[in-house]
Symmetry: C2
Subunit: 317 residues, 2 copies
């Protein structure tokens, strides 16, 4: 849950004067997204999500994200279209923080995706990759492979505290990833955080929408697939569900067939993707004060995924 910024009715009214949305009819803080404050806003014109950008999202990156959402919506992709102010800007500010209004998207996220959900999610991801083609915005992946060793060097002690001996294992992983990391894959605009809580389904189980694009960047499409495999296809007991993974890849390839080099790269990409989430969770774990309002996610969940990938996945027989 996340509502870090408290907006009064007077602040809301003043903010909405900048938009052509009519008067507010309802306004409720919602428990969605962990990085920003989100509000359900209903006005005379329709329903929207108002986001106040808090920590981690850099203000200078916001035009990249908001322009991407407009680009995707213009191409029919079901992401939330940003609503421009009267002066045509999609980025505004509220309480001195960056803020934006986007369309409300119906749909429900699923907690325990089935193979059928994975197939739909995979197709939605490929659709996103195709819809994003030609988007002129550029943003390097600041959590990409080159960032991992420097990031780990700052949190080595936290890793040892979690599990004695872990830092040597991670060092070894990082060396192998550096050596084996593929650099010749098709790249483009990727979501980079396509987790189940960022994907909505219709009540009939069909893909409905993707949200929370605030890690989007330029990187290999197949890396986005690898992040998604890690996020959707592990069981609670840490085992990898190959049926779900094949369904996800099958759904993806309905829209965008993977090339042979992408398929070959997937196991190492999945290992790297597990490293990326292990490292950022480790960093959050170490830097979260005891008793903080937001409980950090368990880094060891991704350490276990790393261990599975160390063995090497066989995704394509």
């Amino acid at each position: 849950m996340a509502v870090y910024t408290d907006i009064t009715d007077q602040e809301l009214e003043a903010f909405l004067e900048g938009y052509d949305l009519g008067a507010p009819l309802a306004f409720k803080g919602i428990a969605e997204g962990v990085e920003n404050s989100n509000f359900l806003l209903e006005t005379e014109k329709g329903r929207y999500i108002l986001t106040v950008y808090e920590r981690r999202v850099k203000a200078e990156d916001l035009p990249y994200f908001l322009n991407m959402l407009t680009w995707l919506a213009d191409r029919g992709y079901p992401s939330a279209r940003p609503i421009p102010t009267r002066s045509g800007a999609t980025l505004s500010s509220l309480r001195g923080k960056p803020a934006a209004i986007v369309e409300f998207l119906p749909g429900l996220s699923v907690r325990k995706p089935t193979a059928a959900h994975c197939r739909e999610a995979g197709e939605g991801l490929a659709w996103l990759h195709l819809a994003g083609e030609g988007y002129p915005g550029r943003r390097a992946n600041d959590l990409g492979q080159a960032a991992w060793s420097p990031l780990f060097s700052k949190h080595r002690k936290a890793a040892e505290d979690l599990k004695p001996g872990l830092s040597a294992t991670i060092d070894n992983d990082l060396a192998q990833l550096s050596l084996m990391w593929p650099r010749n894959l098709p790249t483009g605009t990727i979501h980079a955080d396509y987790f189940p809580d960022n994907v909505f389904f219709q009540s009939n189980g069909k893909f409905a929408a993707a949200i929370d694009f605030y890690f989007a960047c330029d990187d290999a499409y197949a890396y986005d697939v690898a992040v998604t495999l890690n996020a959707w296809c592990f069981e609670a007991d840490g085992s990898f569900n190959i049926t779900a993974a094949k369904a996800l890849l099958n759904g993806y390839e309905r829209r965008r067939p993977l090339s042979p080099i992408e398929k070959e790269a997937l196991p190492i990409l999945a290992r790297g993707a597990a490293m990326r989430f292990f490292l950022t969770r480790l960093a959050d774990w170490g830097s979260t004060p005891a008793g903080a309002l937001v409980r950090p996610k368990d880094p060891l969940e991704y350490e276990r995924k790393l261990a599975v990938h160390r063995e090497g996945l066989v995704l394509f027989a």
Copy 2:
């Protein structure tokens, strides 16, 4: 903000099978109410609030509250109508906890009510008192005057910790309240927690709805007015805004004129109402562990209101 219970998509679907509301289209935890978990639920039939009842609300009291909401809605009062299950029950259960679905009510609560808001709120309260007449449900006010001394005896030390010497002042207040408490006032079903965050306004500033009836009980109507005066008519600096108070009473009397004995009783009722909220905040303050997710409200805010009422209000010249 309050979402204590995490509901998965599968749990939601199973729960909704008990209702004739169609498939779920959207479901979001919302930051509303501090005692229960609330979710915005959109289905094929419309928009609703799903409440999972957590601490403080007694399960055996829920039929009283839900039947009251049905009673009020049947009489045209703008409170949220409970939605019955297929078998006709308004009370259901989810994750082993009591749960109910009620209509979604549009409207916005105001943070800093103006005198105009106070007038509207006062009228809405009188409307509630009239609409509740004849409701057959009975519930004693377990936070009424008789409960205050026993409650304070358990939290005397917390009062001294907050402000040395405070416990003797409160003892004196309690003795005076016991002596002067009026017992011959018109009584009926009251809201008992009619605070600004429990009242919605339309965008034109008109009263829209009242929510959160989970302190409702049988007590003097004028006591409900006194609770409301305390909640709406104090400035942030602790001063009592007599203009706002007169507007509130004026709005109330548009619908239900106060009798001479009710008017005469208001100052002592307001002092007692300040005591009631001081005491429950004191109890929450003492029993909340350091680092808890919910920050208790400041008891001293109501201690300052008590001090104002100790001087005696002149509401009717």
